[in-house]
Structures are given as C-alpha cells and as structure tokens.
Subunit: 224 residues, 2 copies
DNA sequence: TTGACATATTAAACATTGTTTAATAATTGA
DNA sequence: TCAATTATTAAACAATGTTTAATATGTCAA
C-alpha cells in the first residue's frame, strides 16, 4: 500500500507516461507496417496500378485502417516518393568527387543519375510519375511542396558544380548559372527518358555509351 | 411497275448500295461526333480526368454507345493522341528549312518543337502522357504501335538532318547517327519538360531564351 | 403491308476503385 | 467496475470503365 500518496501518484504518472510512450511506438509501428506494405505494392505496380486494398492485404489489415494513419492514397504515395528522392540524393552525393575538377564532377553526377535509374528502376518510376504525371492525378498540398524541395535539392547539386566551374574558369561565364544547370540537367534526364521509352533498344544503343556521348556533346560541342 | 425484271433488280441493287453508303456515312459521322466530344474532354481534363460519361454527355448520347464504336477508353484516347502527333508533325515539317545548312535546320526543328509546346499545350500534354505515363495505364496493341511509329517519325525528321550534317561535314562524323539524334532530341525535349515542371518560372527564366541557350550549348559546347 | 432480321441505342447492372461511416473491440484511467 | 478514448473492422458510398439485356429503328423479302 502506498503510505505516501505523493510517491504513489508519481509512480502512476510515470507508468502512464511509459504506456503513452509504448502506445506511441505501436502507433509508429503500424504506420511503418503500412508504409512497408505500400512500398512493395507501389514499387511493383506503380501509382495507378496499386490499390488501397492491395496495400491493406499486404499489411494484413483492413483498408479503412490505412485512413486512420494517412489522409489518402496520395499521402501514402508521397511518403514512398520521398524515400525514392532520398535514395537518389544519397547516390548523387556518394559521387566522391571532392577535389576533382568541376567538369569531372559533372560527369560523375550524370553517371550517378544513370546508376540510380539502372539500379532502382522502380524508384525511378515512382519519381518520374510524380514529376510528369501529376497534373492529371493531382497531388496537392504540403506533400508536393516537400517533394519539389527534394527534387530541387538534386538539381542544386549540379548547380553548385556549375557555379564552381565558372569560378575556376573551366566553364565559360554564363549569363545565368541556373540556365546552364537546367540545360545540363534536362539533357541528362532527357537521355534517360529516351531510354525508358525504348528508343535505344530500337537502335541497338547502349545507355551507358549514350550517356557518355551525351556528356561529350554537352562538354565539347558537336561542331567541328 | 417494272416490266423488265433486270432493270428492277438492278435498280433495287443500286438503291441498296446507296442506302448502305448512307448508313456507312452515318456510322462515320457518329464516330466523328464521339471523337469530337472526346477531343474536347481529353484536351480539357487529360487522360485520367476525362471519363466516358463526360464524353457521352458532350456527344449527347449514352456511354454504352461509345463502346459500339470503340473498343475502350484507350482506343478513343489513341485516336486523339494520333491527332496530336499529326499536329506536331505538321509543325515540325512546316519549318521551311529547305536549302538551309543542317545546323540551321536543327535550330529550326528545336524551335518548332517549342512552338508546338507553347501553342498546343493540351496536345503536348496528351502526347507526353502517352510517352511517359503509360507503363502504369497500359495502352496496348496496335494502337500503341501506330503511335510509336508517329513518335519515331518526328525524331526521324531530326535524324535526316544529322545525316545530312555529317555528309556535308558541318558535323563531326559520329559513330552512330542515331546516337547523336537521340542526344539532341533528348536535350530539346528535356528542356521543355523542365519548363513544364515549373523550374524556369522558379528562376525567372524564359523558355525561349532557355531553348536558345540549350541550342548553343549543344552546338558550341560549354567548354572554353 | 407484314414480319423477320440486323443494327443502333439506351438504361441498368457489374466489378473495381478511393473513401467514409457506423459499429465493435481493446485499452486505459479513475 | 465503468466510462472514455483509441484502434479496428465490415459495410456502405460514390465514381469509375465496361458489359448486358432490352428496346427502338430501319431494311428487305414475301
């Protein structure tokens, strides 16, 4: 028996806190479980192919429960998409290009982007659907803000190199560093999308060689 | 009364033919009516936003009837998409570049593509959804074959210029003319997609200037 | 003219979506 | 033990693409 009520109440208080903590953990675990199921389903079937019932089945719980933890399908998708961006960013940052000249850094960034496309095609699909298909689907609100920020973060890695290259005069001075950055990014991304559409297979071209070709065109120009 | 049965039967025959012809016309008109409605709906709402009931309402007939004239939604969409490609192709061909040097022709093609994007944004959306979003949606069969052929036809306009440029030595000889073609096409298309995603607005860049920048990078290189 | 037959057309049904709701089960704190 | 909050579910809902079964329409032969 608690002779001292202060101690008793204090004990109860800490227990309550511990329980609250445990419940918070369990809640988080449910969330994770749903996200894990969602990831496998989205990666396998894509945004449109994946259904909430698929995810619920994979997570072994009812579809309705997902809405207890997430606002809607886009919200869940947004989380997976965010994860995809983190993988992309980690690969782009892993280029280990410190100290190398800016032109070399650019090549490394381009190759790293290609590596992401080749090694994580499902994640690439997730991202490119967000980037290109969403005027039609309608991801809204702060989710898309966060994803846009991550997307920009990737491009910014290239921008920093452009700035550096202009500073050390290995690049011609540009009117606008962002204009050059977007040009390069567009050309790299473009060549990957071309591959995704099957045109390289059509002409027996290798994507890696094609990227090197693209890099050399960008860096050296095509005019004799 | 027909005293001569040969004439009578012949007359009936031609009437039957005329009726058959009229019915064929009416059938074609129904088809056109549906396509016209579909076009306005698809252009306004995009592939995913458009519903068969929307189209039926616009055409003032029942949704089921559409399936009497078309296999399914994708089939209808394919027709609109084909129209979009024809517009693109006509614009690309209208460049009036006969006699100009290949490098100039390339610039004109690039600008023409941009013009299509700026003047027919809804058609551009239709095409780019076909090009990029369809692993998830699943357009199948000969429709996609026909669309791919049209898409390739567009790229081939650039390829012919590349071949010509190498022949007259205004371009460095390339291992593969298609490799160069795809590089250029990717860079041009890429810069437009970058704009579509809103990055140029973000940095106060103008799409036309950006395309010129892209062209100059491609043609002159960025290295000092 | 009538009736059979093919075609055009529709309304309704169907299966599958994302999402909501209302009810139930579980857990906690008093 | 009980009230209340929370977690969970089954069922319902509205909207989709598509199918079906029925109906209207028009054609042709007898």
């Amino acid at each position: 028996m608690n002779l001292n009520p202060r101690i008793g109440s204090q004990c109860m208080k800490t227990i309550s806190q511990a329980i609250a903590r445990r419940k918070e953990n369990e809640k988080q675990e449910r969330r994770e479980r749903i996200l894990s199921a969602a990831k496998s389903v989205f990666l396998k079937k894509g945004y449109l192919g994946a259904t909430m019932r698929d995810i619920a089945l994979q997570a072994e719980l009812s579809p309705g429960l997902i809405y207890h933890y997430f606002d809607n399908k886009d919200h869940v998708y947004g989380q997976i998409c965010e994860e995809a961006f983190h993988i992309l960013l980690s690969i782009l940052r892993k280029t280990e290009s410190a100290g190398k000249p800016p032109l070399m850094k650019m090549e490394l960034i381009a190759r790293a982007y290609l590596r992401f496309y080749l090694e994580y095609p499902e994640y690439f699909e997730i991202i490119s659907f967000k980037e290109l298909g969403f005027k039609q689907v309608g991801l809204r609100g702060e989710i898309v803000e966060r994803l846009n920020r991550l997307s920009l973060e990737a491009i910014n890695l290239l921008h920093e190199i452009v700035v550096e290259g202009i500073a050390d005069q290995s690049l011609v001075p540009q009117r606008d560093t962002w204009a050059t950055t977007l040009s390069l990014w567009a050309a790299i991304e473009g060549i990957i999308f071309i591959h995704k559409r099957g045109y390289m297979e059509m002409f027996g071209l290798d994507i890696r060689q094609q990227l090197e070709h693209q890099i050399s065109i960008l860096l050296d120009g095509i005019r004799r």
